[in-house]
Amino acid sequence: MFSEADMARLIEVMRQTATTHLTVEGAGEYLSLGLRPAGSASARAISSAPVKMIKSSALGVFIHCGGDDGLQKVEPGARISARQVLGYVSLDGARNPVRASEAGVLKSSTPEEGQIVGYGDVLFEMECDA
């Protein structure tokens, strides 16, 4: 019986040793693991730092944080802490804060300041900490 933690550890070892196939026997079970060859950046990014899209929960005008709200501006590349306010979707001056769900690095901020965004539109992409 292999737990998820066991498998995660095995995958990590495979990555470190550039192993693409591994079969492990234990407790009457076999586990066969296959990994795409290293070197593919996108594969690494997907597996080690999942990209999370932060979407708009409302229709309104997009506003970056750091304007008149007393918060720091957030540029792509910046470290983001969990629950950090990244911007707002504004409706006639009232604002819905948009927050990061978890910690990571901001990859991109899609809409322009003042752009109208709809429900479900992607506002930010961030690489979450593994």
Partner: protein
């Protein structure tokens, strides 16, 4: 419920003031920045006159004593809830045990903390404002101290967080806070040079400034006429010039009567800007007439109405979405 852990001894509970007792010598008191006070209430769906905590000096630390929603509005002050930065105008839920910290104030002088239904303090003479000199109203008639507990007057509603835009005290691109003023009874008794200086030069807010009034520093104002004035009613916004020639703006906790010569008076719709002025900030006085003051009053009503209805509208939509 919110517990005060540390707070410099100048924070008071205020609403829009205790009007109607001028004849008994009782000053108005009330929020120094009524705009931010109103915003702190509207963010929570409160009535604009619900009591808030006016905080003129930080750093400060609070602990949420019981799950609650709360609001903050006014100067940016690096507010953090359990380490997570909050926008300067914000309302939302907090859990018991969470810590609210306020850091250095920036771009303003006062921040208002609101609770659902307002801060629960008794109504005295028609208001919940603190009458500091007379020692009644507000929170036991005094400034808040560590160990005090702020209670909400209404149960906490279930609401998601919300924020809003709020203007700063300065016009766009200006270093000075501009205050529109009307001429007063002794304006013409000041020398032409003094009047020119007062209505065009910048006056600096000195550290001798508080809820009673702001002492200013700038070109000396000389009155050509001599003789003492008979005591008369004074109101927040009046700019008096005592013998030294440096003006004083009387504010929320000012005396109700006085006798210094008056060079001008700041119109009501601009008083909140003074409330966000800090020592070292510069003020300019723009002379207007009563027709313009009337127009400014109407504009203010439109602006306030827009802010209130947009917060109410978004609050309603949030309920629909959730």
């Amino acid at each position: 419920m919110i517990d005060v852990v540390s707070l410099p001894p100048l924070a008071t509970v205020q609403d829009l003031g205790r009007v109607g007792h001028w004849r008994q010598g009782l000053g108005r008191a009330g929020a120094m920045d009524p705009l931010a006070h109103r915003a702190a209430n509207w963010l929570l769906g409160n009535h604009e006159n619900a009591a808030t905590l006016e905080i003129p000096l930080t750093p400060a630390r609070f602990v949420i004593a019981q799950d609650t929603v709360f609001s903050m509005a006014g100067a940016a002050c690096g507010a953090r809830l359990d380490g997570v930065a909050l926008p300067r105008c914000w309302a939302g839920p907090a859990k018991a045990g969470q810590e609210l910290t306020l850091g250095v104030m920036d771009g303003g002088a006062r921040v208002y903390l609101g609770l659902p239904g307002g801060i629960d303090v008794p109504m005295v003479l028609g208001s919940r404002s603190t009458q500091l000199r007379e020692g009644f109203g507000g929170f036991e008639g005094r400034v808040l101290m560590p160990g005090d507990r702020l209670r909400a007057a209404a149960p906490s509603p279930i609401m998601p967080e919300i924020s809003c835009a709020l203007p700063g005290p300065r016009p766009e691109g200006s270093d000075d806070i501009v205050l529109r003023v009307l001429p007063s009874s002794e304006t013409n008794e000041f020398s032409a040079q003094s009047r020119d200086a007062f209505f065009s030069d910048a006056y600096k807010v000195t550290p001798a400034s508080n809820r009673q009034g702001y002492r200013l520093d700038g070109p000396v104002l000389e009155r050509d006429a001599t003789g003492e004035l008979r005591s008369h009613g004074i109101a927040p916004g009046i700019v008096q010039v005592p013998g030294g020639g440096q003006p004083i703006i009387q504010l929320a906790d000012s005396a109700t009567m006085g006798g210094y010569p008056k060079i001008a008076c700041v119109i009501e719709p601009d008083l909140w800007r003074v409330g966000q002025a800090r020592p070292g900030d510069t003020l300019r006085f723009e002379l207007i007439d009563t027709a313009t003051a009337r127009a400014a009053e109407r504009e203010e009503a439109v602006t306030l109405n827009a802010l209130r209805s947009s917060l109410a509208h978004l609050g309603h939509l949030q309920k629909v979405w959730s």
